[in-house]
């Protein structure tokens, strides 16, 4: 009965099916666009030169968020310094050198699992290892290292994917011409995979820039009257500042919260757009 009905109306059934799929696609995009518009509308009134370049005053209820912007910038750079070389090196090892054995399967399993660990756990781990055991104190260094560990799985897996996408015959040809493995990797494989690697790096850093939990115990300060002077100083940071002014300060003017959120959002979105531009440019130029 049912099958005959479906068969007779198969074009209608197909149309309904497509409509449902299209709707679900729209529903996944709507919240993102909604969030962006909402934050933008609510926060734009707080944005001013003073807000972007001034220090907070009157218990954060007035003034700017300059130290938090600078802090997030420092943390992102610091994270890049540790996670990018380490991540790319690991990806090169996995993609170009390691054979598929128990050991590499274990490494891959670890990477996948690292990606699934809640960020607050990284924060606690960073507190134990970097802040206390290695005695870096609550500092940019400790926070950046913690964020690096969190970012590594993203960098490694996207970089490995980008390396694997480089056609195998390039390697064979290069080797057959008397190049060593490393020369082949450096002059051809890495060069071709670079845009893909960069995209992964930026997406990883973007996550790091927006995280609160990993820096909570390792490097973030509630309020600092001056900018950090060395990697061993603590720092204010945008996500943590947002958390602070949203929950810890009574009678907080609402537009400062949304203004801070907007700045963070723009920071992260800008990185995202850069990644997209790099990727599409490289795709257009790619010779394979």
């Amino acid at each position: 009965m049912v099958t005959r009905f479906l068969a007779r109306h198969r074009y209608t059934v197909q149309r309904i099916g497509f409509a449902v799929i299209t709707l679900t696609a729209i529903f996944t995009v709507l919240p993102i666009i909604g969030t962006i518009i909402y934050i933008f509308v609510k926060g734009i009134s707080a944005i001013s030169v003073e807000f972007l370049t001034g220090f907070p005053s009157n218990g954060m209820r007035e003034g700017g968020i300059y130290p938090a912007i600078v802090g997030t910038f420092y943390l992102t750079i610091g994270t890049a310094i540790f996670s990018v070389p380490l991540g790319i090196a690991a990806a090169v090892y996995l993609s170009e050198y390691a054979s598929n054995n128990k050991w590499t399967r274990l490494i891959r399993l670890a990477i996948v699992n690292l990606a699934g660990i809640p960020s607050v756990v990284y924060g606690l781990f960073g507190l134990g290892l970097f802040v206390l055991f290695l005695q870096f104190g609550t500092s940019i260094l400790a926070a950046a290292l913690t964020l690096s560990i969190m970012t590594l799985p993203v960098v490694i897996s996207t970089a490995e994917e980008a390396l694997r996408a480089v056609p195998q015959p390039f390697r064979t040809v290069s080797i057959s011409l008397g190049a060593t493995r490393w020369q082949t990797i450096r002059r051809i494989v890495l060069k071709e995979a670079l845009p893909g690697i960069l995209t992964g790096v930026i997406l990883g850093l973007e996550r790091a820039a927006g995280e609160t939990a990993p820096i909570l115990f390792t490097g973030a300060a509630f309020f600092l009257p001056q900018l950090p002077q060395s990697p061993f100083d603590a720092t204010m940071a945008l996500p943590y500042h947002l958390f602070v002014i949203s929950t810890q300060v009574p009678e907080m003017p609402i537009q400062i919260q949304y203004g801070t959120a907007l700045v963070l959002l723009v920071f992260v979105l800008t990185m995202n757009i850069i990644a997209t531009v790099i990727r599409s440019r490289a795709r257009a130029k790619r010779q394979w």
Binding site: T172, V173, S174, S176, G178, A179, R187
Partner: protein, 252 residues
């Protein structure tokens, strides 16, 4: 004429258990085109890849025997494989130009070999593109991406890239399998020119090509060298029944 290469009792099994070469012994003449032909899976490509040790990239279970080039066993662990690969160049079945300009495709290996002077590089580019019969077609676009060329042109650039290193031996693994008859003709003509300076080993993509190109021909079947003789003799009066059957197209 002298033997440039002597292969002695070469056997090879891949890691998955397939036996690729079984007790192959043959001498390969200098300044001649030696053709290795036979049905797929006969071990021809494996043999080629032994000659420049490209099989090092593949997982091999076991290999026995020796390959002497100018009297030296290149299968020895102490062999400098980088130097070997510069001496024994290879052209593959699919034309694979590296993702760079035509000029850079040719200078890539030269620069790795330590040649930096621009005049020397330019000279090598022109000389090898001419020998590969592609110079007239690309001389005005040397700095354009090599990928923009047609398949036939790319394959000749690949041949030029090997010549640029001034090797002594050139291995060609079905170099014209994807090419149109005109490009194929150009490559074949280039080989006849090149053999004056180089020792050439060709795995042809058809029996007809084998017959056209061969000074010497070796017939391989399931890893064994069935028959080896001068090309003329092989394709007019083969001694073995199997060889004859294959040449006549009764199997394969």
């Amino acid at each position: 004429m002298v033997d440039k290469i002597t292969i002695e009792n070469l056997s090879l099994q891949y890691a998955d258990g397939t036996e690729s070469l079984r007790d192959v012994s043959m001498g390969i003449r200098q300044n001649a085109v030696t053709v290795l032909f036979g049905p797929a899976g006969g071990g021809k490509s494996t043999l080629l890849r032994c000659l420049n040790r490209l099989n090092d990239l593949t997982e091999i279970k076991a290999s026995q025997g020796r390959i002497l080039i100018d009297g030296e066993n290149i299968l020895d662990l102490k062999t400098d494989v980088i130097a070997l690969r510069r001496k024994v160049g290879m052209v593959f079945a699919r034309p694979v130009t590296l993702p760079m300009s035509i000029r850079e495709n040719l200078t890539y290996a030269l620069e790795l070999a330590g040649i930096k002077r621009k005049s020397k590089l330019d000279e090598a580019v022109e000389r090898s593109l001419k020998l590969a019969a592609i110079w007239d077609e690309v001389k005005d676009r040397l700095d354009e991406p090599a990928i923009a060329l047609s398949g036939g042109q790319q394959q000749r650039v690949c041949l030029a890239r090997v010549i640029a290193l001034q090797p002594e031996i050139i291995l060609l693994d079905e170099p014209t399998s994807g090419l149109d008859p005109i490009s194929t003709g150009k490559v074949e003509a280039a080989l006849q020119e090149l053999k004056k300076e180089y020792t050439i080993i060709l795995v042809p993509h058809s029996v007809q090509q084998a017959a056209r190109a061969a000074d010497y021909a070796a017939f391989f079947l399931t890893g064994e060298l069935i028959e080896y003789s001068e090309g003329k003799e092989m394709f007019t009066a083969p001694k073995q029944k199997k060889t004859e059957d294959y040449i006549m197209g009764r199997f394969g």
